[in-house]
Symmetry: C2
Subunit: 319 residues, 2 copies
């Protein structure tokens, strides 16, 4: 089953069930996804209307909690190298995770920020959990995944070094992320193996292919492991969102990966492409986002049909 | 006006307006504080019932966001010294803040954790904001404070060093905080100066006075400044909670402060008392919390009446 929250001006939006072909929608007895998660039910009504993914807000505009992992350790390695920081070997065995902003913006909402902040996107897979008890194992935790979705974890690269040097993680450097128009139950998701999503995450920057990484490859920590990490010292109430971190694939030769234009799988954030440029040419030349730039993020099934709809954002004029 | 959310088994509780003397309560037209914040109104009904603060859950069990500052830089200095970390001078001018867990537990809920995790309390003042626009100044931000409350920011000291060394801030080491039974509007709050709360924050550990610090003293960053820091790169939707960090007073001689038993103002967390013990005797001797230990946190007005009710928590048996 696919669901979306229409942006009707209310804080949580209006929950609808969407047909697999994204053509029709049905409202639900519980008006919002939050209510449906609380009631532990999802009851679509019979009336059908045409679905327009342009009318969607964030699937869950106010998540109960948001914890974002860095499951693709290749990305962590590259981004840390890009800012001159070493990566401890424990990063390959102990999940890296931060507490993110628990509110989300819609898939077509503008990205708003000062271009001097170094605005970047990060294309990720995320899951919405049911009630996860404290201390759940990774195997148990995987059973609490209710929905899978895409997110764009907007990151302000120029603010990160100073903020992380203070030792308390991201605050200003990680404003609210955007979600895909749709979230999909694991049972209805092609490529879902119970812990990971296999398939190409498409990222276009200003209409050009930028990333075509496979989300099922190089994911060092699967979602069961990420959820269990988050739940070690707390329960996770229904409506918690757990992110994968930026999707990132190594090259076949174990190198950092080639741009799409050179036949590679490209990148799911600009920072990674800049790092590879530095390795290849001694200098980064792809700029971070500027007003007017656009980023699109989506996945499609084997028949080319959109699975989650498209995150399609523009950077707003500043100020 | 004082409000509370009764723990009726629902995720957000049942909003009531409580009389200033904490004797009577009235339900509200909007069933939950979240609904009332969304509707930008608070309409108590006429029917009155006796109020029992023991029936309260967290004031806002699911905050929209939670950002916790470290406004009492004396505390940061001592805790960092306690774990052998230096404090950069910029900490006196640039607010330290982390994204905390956006769900809260009730004022009488047990603290649940492995005693080997080094369980500690942190007594803090916090505010619930209305809708704060991105980029609000500190002066503007102070105008968006809707309610003031107390929180116990439970901290797992033994997990903090490894977690912070990973660079992404607190996750496992900061499980959900507890709130006071009541939240109070600024207009009804004795000692509120528009940006800070002046008054003694009482902390008892196992029935003995542990902390009597003045929340209006040594607060390097006031709430206007903390909210503006959080809102630099994002709007803060109504229902955002901003914490002060652990209340901490220096001694009159600018030293780290004496225990209450020696006539000092004591501490609002165990870590600070342990640090001072180390300074005075070369060794910390106050243990972190063990199953069965109790912590009480409250404030009272000049007439000795409780302002926010009492956070009164016990550490649960483990496992």
């Amino acid at each position: 089953m696919k669901i979306a929250s229409l942006d009707d001006g209310s804080p949580d939006g209006a929950l609808v069930v969407v047909s697999d072909d994204l053509r029709m929608q049905r409202p639900c007895t519980d008006r919002t996804l939050r209510d449906a998660l609380d009631m532990k039910r999802l009851v679509p009504e019979l009336t059908e209307q045409p679905f327009d993914e342009g009318s969607c807000g964030a699937v869950l505009p106010r998540a109960t909690q948001f914890l974002d992992g860095s499951a693709y350790v290749n990305h962590v390695d590259l981004v840390r190298r890009a800012r001159g920081a070493d990566m401890p070997p424990s990063f390959w065995t102990d999940p890296l995770m931060y507490q993110g902003c628990s509110t989300f913006i819609g898939p077509q909402d503008d990205i708003t920020g000062d271009p001097d902040w170094g605005i970047d996107f990060e294309a990720e897979i995320a899951v919405i959990t049911g009630d996860v008890p404290q201390g759940a194992s990774a195997d148990e935790a995987a059973g609490f995944i209710e929905y899978v979705l895409l997110i764009n974890d907007i990151s302000l690269r120029a603010l990160i070094p100073d903020e992380l040097s203070k030792g308390f993680g991201f605050v200003q450097s990680k404003p609210p992320s955007a979600t895909s128009p749709l979230a999909v139950t694991p049972a209805a998701l092609p490529g879902w193996d119970g812990r990971k999503l296999h398939g190409i995450l498409h990222v276009d920057l200003n209409g050009q292919p930028f990333g075509r990484a496979n989300a099922g490859v190089d994911m060092t920590f699967d979602f069961g492991t990420l959820i269990a990490h988050a739940a070690k010292t707390r329960p996770l109430p229904a409506g918690t969102i757990i992110g994968s971190g930026t999707i990132s694939n190594r090259d076949a030769d174990e190198g950092p990966g080639q741009p799409v234009a050179r036949g590679g799988r490209g990148y799911s954030c600009i920072a990674e492409q800049r790092m590879v440029e530095t390795i290849l040419t001694g200098q980064a030349h792809t700029p971070f986002l500027r007003p007017g730039d656009t980023v699109k993020i989506w996945m499609q099934d084997d028949a080319g049909r959109s699975i989650f709809g498209t995150i399609n954002q523009k950077v707003a004029p500043w100020p």
